[in-house]
Symmetry: C2
Subunit: 203 residues, 2 copies
DNA sequence: ATCCTTCCCTAACAAGTGTTTGGTAGGTTA
DNA sequence: TAACCTACCAAACACTTGTTAGGGAAGGAT
């Protein structure tokens, strides 16, 4: 069989996860392109070349970081969407789940926010496009159902509303630090309160 | 005087502005670090080295793009803040002004969003930190005044509210395209309606 | 004692990076 | 006509980049 022979090495998955975690931190802090493999190796306490025992490229590092995150994210989302909740309750559950994911995958979310648009252009990262479409479908659909059953206002541009809700949730990853004053659930509660009812005092 | 002698050349300011505009587009599309000077030169129809007749570094290009944008932004903001409006009207004016700036400086805003955190670490870009602090002061102060005079809800974490309002406005630069269906003022109106009154239908 | 596997190091590579230097075509001024 | 200025090109520079190849130390298995 004259296929490509992978080198006969078997790095431990735990070590890989450790290295991916530190790589994710550096990517999130410096940006993917601005991050050199030497910088990652530094943070991991080894030399640049040694990373290639565990990964075959810098690109597959960010690939694994993002795909792992998205897999977990969709586990949560699919569970919510399958629960058959009313529109408003669905939005509440999705937002809460999102903040939990930000809590668990802060670095990955930050990377996703910054780099996904660029990466999505490459065929290798097609799953980013797929995920984004699925994402839009879920949120837009829920909002539309909510307008139909009079949970949500009908006088707003629905796409504008979608982007509004989506962005307000995910940009939180840029400033959120786990272990802060507020739990993910508390932040979700306040965000939902603002998004649903507004910050103005009705008089 | 044994100081550094600048080369005795005088590029035209109009050509500089043209080149900065194309550079800003490329920076916004590809990211600052991922953008090579050869790519900018390509887009401008010249060779990489020729850019150095007009600018002395890639860094001073992004520097000039951002500082020009911030100067104009603060002209608008300062006018609003000096008008002595009530809190709610101040917020409305600031948001509207922000969307006008996004309309005028779409590329610069996108660059600012993506790169400012990184750049702010360098002494050369200290003005980014200054601007961000002034920004926070203006918005937080207005929100606090609004809570005091019962324009805004008092049951929300004020810093969370600040980040919420700030982010919802500026992330729009990532998807906004001038000449679209909605004018900046129309987008501002809808955003304000959502932020102030929420997307839920009060029943 | 030998072998094998895991994990990292040393040292280099080719390609790409921002930048510099010297030159030059074409227009304007003297 | 000569001098000059603007705006660019051509070609190289020093350096950084991601990546590879070969080797070796440690430890468990045989």
């Amino acid at each position: 069989m004259p296929t490509k022979k992978k080198p006969q090495v078997t790095p431990s998955p735990e070590r890989r996860r450790e290295l991916l975690a530190t790589a994710a931190e550096v990517f999130a802090a410096q940006g993917y392109n601005a991050t050199t493999v030497r910088r990652i190796a530094d943070a991991a306490g080894m030399l640049a070349g040694s990373l290639y025992y565990h990964f075959d490229s810098k690109e597959s590092m960010i690939d694994e970081i993002l795909s792992t995150f998205l897999t977990e994210l969709w586990e949560g989302y699919d569970a919510v969407l399958a629960a058959g909740l009313a529109p408003r309750q669905t939005i509440e559950a999705l937002v809460t789940e999102s903040f939990r994911e930000i809590d668990r995958h802060r670095a990955a979310v930050a990377i996703y926010q910054k780099e996904s648009r660029q990466l999505a252009a490459q065929p290798r990262f097609q799953y980013l496009v797929d995920s984004q479409q699925k994402f839009e479908k879920a949120w837009l659909g829920t909002l539309e159902r909510g307008v139909a059953d009079h949970s949500f206002r009908a006088d707003l541009d629905i796409r504008l509303t979608y982007r509004f809700v989506r962005d307000t949730v995910w940009v939180a990853a840029s400033w959120y630090r786990p272990g802060g004053l507020h739990s993910p659930e508390e932040i979700a509660r306040q965000y939902l309160s603002m998004v649903l009812d507004g910050i103005a005092l009705d008089s």
